[in-house]
């Protein structure tokens, strides 16, 4: 498909110019210049020359907030991905945070024979297997922990908690030592070629373990397997579950029970888990289980949830920070002690803003992955 056909496929020509997208867009809300509607207009007018060099081409968070309200059913997030791919193919690139270190890391993972040492976080108290029916897909958390040690967060904590939960339930999950990045970020910032290489390698590796179910703590990894791989022609045979779904199912089947909570919690819907995968209820069922009044919703929740401000390591700027601050303000407003996350990216981005010396006093609060919160309450 050429670019125009792809744009057509994303329904872009159906635009009614109602502007609902711009009205709800979190980037537009906090940036002076960004408007999905005008970006779309430029796209359907074939103004690629100006579009490819536009900083704002890389500003969309692909959070699908606009897609959810669009009366013409336009897939704006996908449209962005299409134009970005075309821009990349023409030699343009966006502004990556950390000078593209993350992007490079993902590209390195496409290398045929790499022999990763990514299992150091699997301590002796965690029981894992090389083959089995249930596979836990770790994601890039071990690498994140090195990169972000200066903001003092551990994203492998979610993986550790998840495995402990599984072990308590008598499950010894498969953890792959040759797991690679799922390619999610590469696809969204327009690098389809490398994304496809990673997709193929991961599918092969997963199939080799004999897994029938794959569990995820990372909402982005899950959306790759559930949406992006099939969309790009890769067949995924396994049942896919986010940890929150798995835990909810266990509670439902009365295999797992939680103590009454002692602390107040709120929940940040990851865009990938919510608007991309439609999973809203399970994390809430888990957090509200056996609970009278310790669970609090933020002002914007479920389908209207606010993104964590950065996507695919692109355009981490003042607009991102404003979005993050607004989200943290909403979290604080609930009176909760812990902000529960279900995606390591939300964890990193919101923590980063929280650690900022200049806003610390107003926004600092505990932030934990849902698995960690559950583990602490497990009977």
């Amino acid at each position: 498909m050429n670019l125009v056909e792809q744009i057509k496929a994303a329904n872009a020509y159906g635009c009614l110019e109602c502007g609902k997208c711009t009205a709800v867009c979190p980037v537009s809300l906090f940036s002076n210049s960004y408007s999905p509607r005008s970006m779309l207009t430029k796209t359907i007018r074939n103004e690629y020359d100006s579009l490819f060099v536009d900083y704002d081409l890389w500003s969309c968070l692909t959070c699908r907030r606009c897609d959810a309200v669009c009366p013409a059913n336009i897939d704006y997030s996908r449209l962005n991905q299409i134009v970005r791919t075309s821009a990349k193919d023409s030699g343009f690139k966006g502004k990556c945070s950390h000078s593209g270190a993350m992007e490079l890391l993902q590209k390195v993972m496409t290398t045929e024979n790499i022999n990763q040492n990514r299992m150091d976080w699997v301590t002796n108290d965690l029981d894992t297997a090389e083959e089995g029916e249930i596979l836990y897909y770790v994601g890039c958390a071990p690498y994140f922990d090195i990169f972000f040690d200066d903001i003092n967060i551990s994203t492998t904590e979610a993986a550790k908690s998840s495995i402990k939960i599984l072990n308590k339930l008598g499950v010894k999950p498969v953890v792959m030592k040759d797991e690679r990045c799922c390619g999610h970020d590469l696809l969204w910032n327009g690098d389809v070629e490398n994304f496809k290489m990673l997709a193929q390698k991961n599918i092969d590796a997963v199939n080799a373990t004999g897994a029938k179910t794959i569990l995820f703590s990372c909402a982005e990894c899950m959306s790759s397997f559930a949406n992006l791989y099939p969309d790009n022609g890769f067949k995924v045979n396994q049942k896919l579950m986010h940890m929150s779904q798995f835990i909810a199912e266990q509670i439902e089947n009365e295999k797992l029970d939680l103590r009454e909570p002692e602390i107040n919690v709120t929940f940040q819907d990851p865009c990938r888990l919510g608007r991309h995968l439609g999973i809203y209820d399970e994390p809430r069922q888990v957090l509200q289980h056996n609970d009278g009044e310790h669970y609090h919703e933020m002002m914007q929740n479920n389908k209207r949830s606010l993104c964590c401000g950065v996507s695919a390591w692109m355009n981490c700027d003042i607009t991102s920070k404003r979005i993050q601050k607004e989200r943290l303000r909403q979290a604080k407003q609930t009176g909760a002690d812990v902000l529960t996350v279900a995606c390591p990216k939300c964890h990193i981005h919101l923590s980063c803003t929280m650690k900022d010396d200049f806003v610390k006093d107003n926004y600092e609060m505990d932030i934990k992955d849902i698995s960690t919160v559950v583990l602490e309450r497990m009977k």
């Binding site: 490079l104 150091d120 200049f358």
Partner: protein, 770 residues
């Protein structure tokens, strides 16, 4: 490629503060190009305002005063009474209010009084020529100062009993305390200027002797004769004196109350001075002015103060005639005016309203409408050209009169004008006199090159509003009956904060402190190509001077007789303000305090790099999580370009190094290892090397990456190497996790410039790699 001087100039201009890269060795970098900021452009005397304001912001008060003195020998005086055109042109006007430049100048002048440093000694007398200056006002004092600095013997003749001209005779002491005047005049005396007071040059003999005894004469006699109103009753009644006479009498003689009800006529600074002086002597004071407040030429602050102190101002009231009884004035009849179309002065022309006459009671009437010079000292047959306004005629670009060797300036030429304009003319006259004595042609200053289009890029939208510091003032109720100074100076903290409001328009503050304080093996030079000034920073490896006779050479002669073309890049990184997250990471890494976070309100801060303090190591660039600090050199594009040299058919090794220790870049081409493709990439400091640099090299499938830098305690930037060690530790962990062979990455340190050791390290590493 620049080959001639003018090409070179254009080349620098074009590349100013832009990112450009080349694989050619860096030869030198401009720190800044002297592009005048609007404040400096606006100052008639050309004081480098931005430089001294910046120095105040940095707490360097003595240095700041030094910058002022270069163009203004009367800083304490101008700090009090200058009409500050610089503030009117300040770019801060676009945001909130101008920087309080005048008060800042006063602050540094006061600071030196409290924290004295040795005054410069006598410079006069190094040359034999003698110069006479008539008048010791600002025009005379400035010329005397400049000429004495050049070594001439300068004598000032002053008619009044004390030196200062209008500064002492015209400006009341509540604005201009006499001790300040004494100190600043003392400074000029100190360098060898002779001032003879109570000496009026008058009559043919005295005038001719003057021309005979001195090599040049400068007439800076001011304008001390008050003009008459030209209305009925002026010569008929007593109780009538002009403002300059009144002020002179008060300022130099005994302070006597002029009368019960005093009327001042006029709207200039002299009118306000006369009014506030009369008020202090106990009179009830009214001002009559024929236009409205908007047209009033006096300073706004002055008018405000006068009104606060209780002076009533009748606007749109023109004097019609003096009324009186028994030979004494009893009042002034005024006619009400309305404003018509602008006249030739650009101000609205007042038109009388018929039958609107009214009388203001007064026993003393003081017109302050204008002044003219007192030319009575000239003999009858003098040949100096005089204007129809009874001012001396002089060429405004050289201050030369029609008589060779006789120069004139200040109010005597311009008519009543400001102190700073008189200073400006003093400078011009001094230069012309020196040229005249040297037998040179007089060069004109006004070559039309004063551009108001200085390339100044300020994004006003991203600049936070910061309140202008209020100048502390004496309580209004305490002002009657005494002449103590009404304005107080800033304290240190306020001065620094106010100076920090400066937007520092243009690329460099041109304070030249870098030149005078250059250390650590760098050579920083300030040079000029005749039209533009440059500050250049030369890397230490080029010790053969590229500057000859103070002029820029565009080409460096290479060893083999070939010319080395010059590459110029700015090394100061820029922050893209609209994207900065304000996380403060850069502030933390920079040990030079070169980065500050600016509060934009609404909890938003953005970082700003101070080009003076920045030394260009690039560590902040490497560590910015949002990648919004744009380096002047060593960009990622430049890295990509360098890495194109990777040859995968051979064993390729990327060697990163800093520009201080180890080997000079010229040596790189000579370092050879068999069957190995060596790619040398030199950054200013290893601190600039970010994790992505190394990952990129690894991602391109190089056999190895070697980083050679200074040992942490030898780092030229003190912290760059330390920061890199942290980065390296991270990359090492990542490389380990990715399963790379341990040897694919190595970090070594070298002590000092040691090419042999550097080559040894490279060789050892190459041997380890398969």
């Amino acid at each position: 490629m620049p080959t001639t001087e003018s090409n070179f100039k254009n080349f620098i201009r074009k590349h100013k503060n832009t990112v450009s890269f080349s694989d050619k060795p860096n030869v030198f970098y401009p720190i800044g190009i002297v592009d005048p900021s609007p404040c400096m452009e606006a100052c008639p005397a050309g004081v480098n305002v931005k430089a001294y304001v910046s120095l105040i912001a940095a707490g360097k008060f003595h240095e700041a005063l030094h910058v002022v003195r270069e163009k203004n020998p009367l800083p304490g005086i101008c700090g009090r009474v200058c009409t500050h055109p610089c503030e009117s042109y300040c770019n801060r006007n676009q945001i909130d209010a101008p920087v309080a430049i005048r008060a800042l100048k006063r602050f540094v002048a006061d600071y030196e009084l409290k924290n004295p440093i040795p005054k410069p000694g006598k410079t006069a007398g190094k040359r034999t020529e003698k110069i006479a200056i008539i008048g010791s006002g600002p025009a005379g004092l400035t010329a005397a100062h400049d000429l004495a600095k050049s070594g001439f013997n300068v004598t000032i003749f002053e008619e009044l009993s004390e030196p200062g001209g209008m500064l002492i005779a015209g400006i009341p002491s509540y604005r201009m305390p006499r001790d300040i005047l004494d100190i600043e005049i003392g400074y000029i005396k100190n360098i060898g200027v002779k001032i003879i007071t109570s000496k009026k040059i008058s009559g043919k003999a005295a005038y001719n002797k003057l021309l005979k005894d001195f090599d040049a004469v400068y007439l800076a006699i001011g304008a001390h004769v008050g003009k008459k109103l030209g209305i009925p009753g002026e010569d008929e009644f007593k109780g009538f004196l002009d403002a300059v006479t009144f002020l002179r009498a008060v300022n130099l003689g005994t302070a006597k109350k002029p009368g019960e009800n005093v009327i001042i006529i006029g709207g200039g600074n002299s009118a306000i001075d006369a009014a506030r002086t009369a008020l202090r002597l106990g009179s009830k004071v009214t001002i009559a002015y024929r236009r409205s407040r908007d047209e009033m030429p006096a300073n706004d602050e002055e008018i405000e103060d006068a009104e606060k102190e209780g002076i009533k101002i009748h606007y749109l009231a023109a004097p019609n005639k003096i009324v009186g009884k028994n030979g004494t004035a009893t009042g002034l009849e005024c006619v009400k005016m309305k404003l018509g179309k602008p006249d030739e002065s650009g101000r609205a022309k007042p038109i009388p309203i018929k039958d609107s006459e009214f009388i203001i009671d007064a026993d003393v009437i003081i017109p302050a409408i204008s002044q003219k010079p007192d030319l009575s000292f000239l003999p009858k047959n003098h040949e100096i050209d005089i204007s129809k306004w009874q001012t001396l005629l002089a060429d405004e670009s050289t201050m030369a009169t029609n008589i060779p060797g006789v120069f004139a300036g200040g109010d005597a030429v311009t008519g009543p004008n400001t102190v700073i304009d008189a200073i400006a003319q003093g400078h011009i006259a001094a230069r012309s006199i020196e040229q005249f004595i040297n037998g040179e042609d007089l060069t004109s200053t006004s070559d039309g090159s004063k551009s108001t289009e200085a390339e100044i890029k300020i994004d006003y939208n991203t600049q936070p509003k910061i309140k202008r510091a209020k100048i502390p003032m004496q309580n209004v109720t305490k002002r009657k009956g005494n002449f103590s100074e009404v304005e107080y100076g800033f304290d240190e903290k306020t001065a620094i904060a106010e100076a920090q409001r400066c937007l520092r328009c243009g690329p460099c503050d041109e304070c030249f402190i870098c030149v005078s304080e250059c250390n650590k093996g760098l050579s920083v030079v300030h040079t000029s190509d005749g039209q533009n000034d440059y500050v250049l920073r030369l890397p230490s490896e080029f010790d053969d001077t590229i500057l000859k006779n103070g002029k820029l050479e565009a080409v460096i002669k290479g060893q083999n007789g070939k010319d080395i073309p010059i590459e110029v890049d700015s090394y100061i990184p820029l922050v893209t303000a609209s994207l900065c997250r304000g996380c403060g990471d850069c502030v933390t890494v920079c040990d030079y305090d070169a980065i500050q976070l600016i509060d934009m309100g609404d909890e938003v801060k953005i970082s700003k790099i101070d080009p003076d303090l920045c030394r260009g190591c690039g560590t902040c660039v490497a560590l910015c999580p949002s990648s919004v600090i744009q380096p002047g050199r060593f960009t990622s594009d430049w890295l990509d370009f360098k890495l194109q040299a990777i040859d995968l058919n051979k064993k390729s090794i990327v060697v990163f190094s800093c520009s201080w220790n180890g080997a000079d870049f010229e040596q790189f081409s000579k370092i050879k290892v068999r069957d190995t493709n060596l790619i040398f990439i030199q950054t200013m400091c290893t601190g600039r090397i970010e994790s992505s640099f190394i990952l990129k090299a690894l991602e391109k499938d190089t056999a190895g990456v070697l980083v050679v830098g200074c040992a942490a305690d030898e780092c030229h930037y003190e912290f760059g190497a330390k920061r890199f060690a942290e980065t390296y530790a991270k990359v090492q962990q990542i490389a380990y996790m990715l399963g790379y062979d341990k040897n694919r990455l190595e970090y070594a340190t070298v002590s000092g410039k040691n090419t042999e050791k550097f080559i040894e390290i490279v060789n050892d590493y190459a041997r380890k790699i398969k």
